[in-house]
Amino acid sequence: MTLIHIKINGESVTVAAHSSVAAALAGRPNRLSVGETAPRAAFCGMGVCFECRVTIDGQSQQRACQVLVREGMEILCDA
């Protein structure tokens, strides 16, 4: 299995190639909700609900479930 090295909030993580960013996040909260600032994580898994939004390589508002990991990718969560 090919492994890919990425960073999540500055922390080095190794994941299988062809994983999505949401899979790499493995259920960890990626943002805080707007009203109550409660933790949220990937929910629909198919690009519909926008719960899994993260900043990827400086681009904000990316849906983690629809983006595949790339070597050296830097992911920032808000939660």
Partner: protein, 414 residues
Amino acid sequence: MRELATELAIVGAGPAGLAAAEIALRHGMPVCLIDDNPAPGGQIWRGGQAGAAMAGHPKLRLLTATRVVAAPAPNCLLLESADGASQLSYHRLLLANGARERLLPFPGWTLPGVTGAGGLQALVKSGLDVRGKKVIIAGSGPLLLATALSLKAAGAQVIQLAEQASLASVSRFALHLWHWPGKLTQALMLGWQLQQVPYAMNTHVRAALGNDRLQAVRLRRGDEEIELACDWLAVGYGLLPNLELARALGCKTHHGVVEVDHVMRTSRRDVFAAGELTGIGGVDKAQLEGRIAGLLIIGEYDRAVALAKRRRRWLRFAAALEQHFSLQPAIAQLASADTVVCRCEDVRFGRLAKCGSWREAKLHTRCGMGPCQGRLCGAACETLFGWQNAGSRPPVFPARLDTLAGNPSTAEVT
């Protein structure tokens, strides 16, 4: 912005879109195949090798991880991907952009660790590690079984499968399956492979429990309630067609599906629809409809009509699905006053219950005003309150402002 042109644009590279693309390419027709997902295959073949045979075909332009954001002019789509924006002009358009899950609110459903049923399956197919994790799968419909199988294959421990429909209803559905032998075989295989998984009918999730993450699930089975500790809860109440793009194009919809004639023509000239968009019926119906549309588009009208005759039995299957897995009234009453219904804007059930329509809810509570554009809460409100959600405003998906601003510069032709 790139300017692209093609003969046939297909939105959605799932079973329907791929089937149509194959026919068109074999005929020598240039095809542009667009999909929001990172690879072709749709939800059902996510993470697999679908479409591999077609990849590299000289007449195919495959645009994955690409969203259709608007239809700014006749026979023209505005697309966005990580590489930027493009404007695609086409002669014919096939909509095959499938379905999403019906996801309904219940207390605790916003906790990390709670996902859709197909949602968790999609995450696992995308590489989520669930080895040794305790999973509960709940909701309604055959997709729950497919999810359970994926989870089991990935090393998860599926400790409970909960179907809200009654045993009588599910049994009647199973008894009808002999009409569709392929489906029967599939069901028997599933049953065999899932024989160690407790499968309870007439059972639904009352609440997900936990502070910052899911810890346990409260299930209601008939009159009794039980709590089970788990790592993941996957809940989905069947599928709903993704109608946003069809509506943006002005295609007529009826009872939540895109209206098509017997050969998959929508109410709009040059626009066709196939697959889950025309009614939730699964992969066989989708592939068949993709082929019918493909044949019609390459001018093989008679062959399309001949094939269309086989569509009826899959329409009956779709109707059986809808009938036997219809929601019990309790499912629409799970949310309490402080349950969040609109996850984007944190709008709670209690505030929505005071509104009289979807539009009033939008204007006076912000429900549906977030980035999902009402995809989840609009469908939830339809189930909870009976509100009709006639459609959303452009863009079809949130998009960069410079994508919307357009200004095509370079031209490429497929």
